[in-house]
Symmetry: C2
DNA sequence: GAGCAAGTGGAACCACGTTCCGCTAAAAAC
DNA sequence: GTTTTTAGCGGAACGTGGTTCCACTTGCTC
């Protein structure tokens, strides 16, 4: 016992990174405080101005300089990922659960896609950012894909194995298509949910016969 | 005969605007030359850098100042529309032709949508611009909608009347959905055409029975 | 409390869209 | 052909937003 955890662990010299499980040198207290403040400020800014709220605005909301944002979140994508990580995780984890609880794999797939769509359409500008080829969104892209493609693939494979859907659509493609369809939700005359529904319906394979 | 048309009409005092049929005071020769040069330069720039090529680049290509671009094309949308007008017109006009020549309305619709998709996926960044809510793209939006929605509606109505598709999808919605799906074509792992195919398949109504 | 590295703020820089205005030269008037 | 008019031109200048950089501050350690 070189050091008592009397201050709730704040005096410790290293932390366990909740992401990778790696031991990392502990950050300064003000740095951790700023990071939390920034996350809140960003979340608030995203709600009112969408995910491409100006960096300066977010900094101002948090009461810090722009340099501080870049120190904690080198790219906008890092900030977005940090803000929405919990919700993406929840969505990812819902996949296997749905598969286990639903009557058919296709039903599970449809429900899971619904979750994803609900998430996307309520985050102004996120669907757009997800498909942007801007280098700044590279890691955003990567995170969503890493986390959701395997889940989607599992549901897709199950439905394909059950013969419910055509087997030639990849999880990547489907997710991208669904993401694309969510762009511009908010426009009154465009119902993204319905378009996704159509897409999922098109996935369905005629039960009557096999190929040809 | 106040003036002989010996210079091929260049000396005339007014022209007939090819768009509206209105008589407009004729523009100066250098202005017309610049406009044509700009259109070429823009078309070339769009091919290499996408439809959001920097204004300065286009001006440099054409060998004119940026002010000249804004004089001829007040917004980027005007420039884009001018560059692609012919192709959009051709697409619009193909609608009724396809409907007359195809075996079924649904076949005509599918073919027409194919035309539209082919157009979109070959214009880097156009699909993105079409869905952008940026005010600069307002008139682009309006032009595409004005020109294509009625055509699409005609095809859609015919297919719905024939009972081939569900009747509750609007032309606006479908076009927007298709446009959205074309975003990010070019990415090797994403086949926009196939996704659109899925969407159109989802439109199809089970022939077997009516509702319920 | 002294020393020091982590962390901070915000000025400065860059890229881009857009505006503005003095100048150029095409067309009109004579 | 010369003069006058004015449409049209160029590009400097400005606004905005992202990104970098570094002199200064401050939390942590000893």
């Amino acid at each position: 016992m070189f050091r008592l955890p009397s201050d709730g662990g704040n005096g410790a010299v290293a932390d366990i990174d909740s992401e990778s499980g790696r031991s990392t040198p502990r950050k300064r207290a003000d740095a951790r405080r700023n990071e939390a403040t920034l996350l809140d400020a960003a979340a608030a800014a995203f709600v009112t101005s969408g995910v491409d709220a100006p960096v300066r605005d977010i900094a101002a909301r948090a009461g810090v300089g722009v340099g501080t944002i870049y120190r904690h979140f080198p790219t906008r994508a890092d900030l977005i990922v940090a803000v929405y990580r919990h919700q993406v995780e929840a969505c990812a984890e819902a996949g296997p659960t749905l598969l286990a609880d639903s009557s058919t794999p296709h039903a599970a797939l449809a429900q899971w896609i619904n979750l994803f769509v609900d998430f996307l359409v309520t985050k102004h500008g996120l669907a757009e950012a997800l498909q942007s080829d801007d280098a700044a969104f590279q890691t955003l892209h990567a995170y969503f894909l890493d986390r959701l493609v395997p889940v989607c693939a599992q549901l897709l494979d199950a439905a394909a194995a059950a013969g419910e859907i055509r087997p030639d659509v990849t999880a990547f493609e489907l997710l991208r298509g669904v993401g694309n369809l969510c762009i511009g939700a908010g426009e009154p005359r465009y119902d993204a949910r319905r378009m996704v529904e159509l897409l999922v319906a098109g996935l369905r394979q005629r039960q009557s016969a096999g190929p040809r």
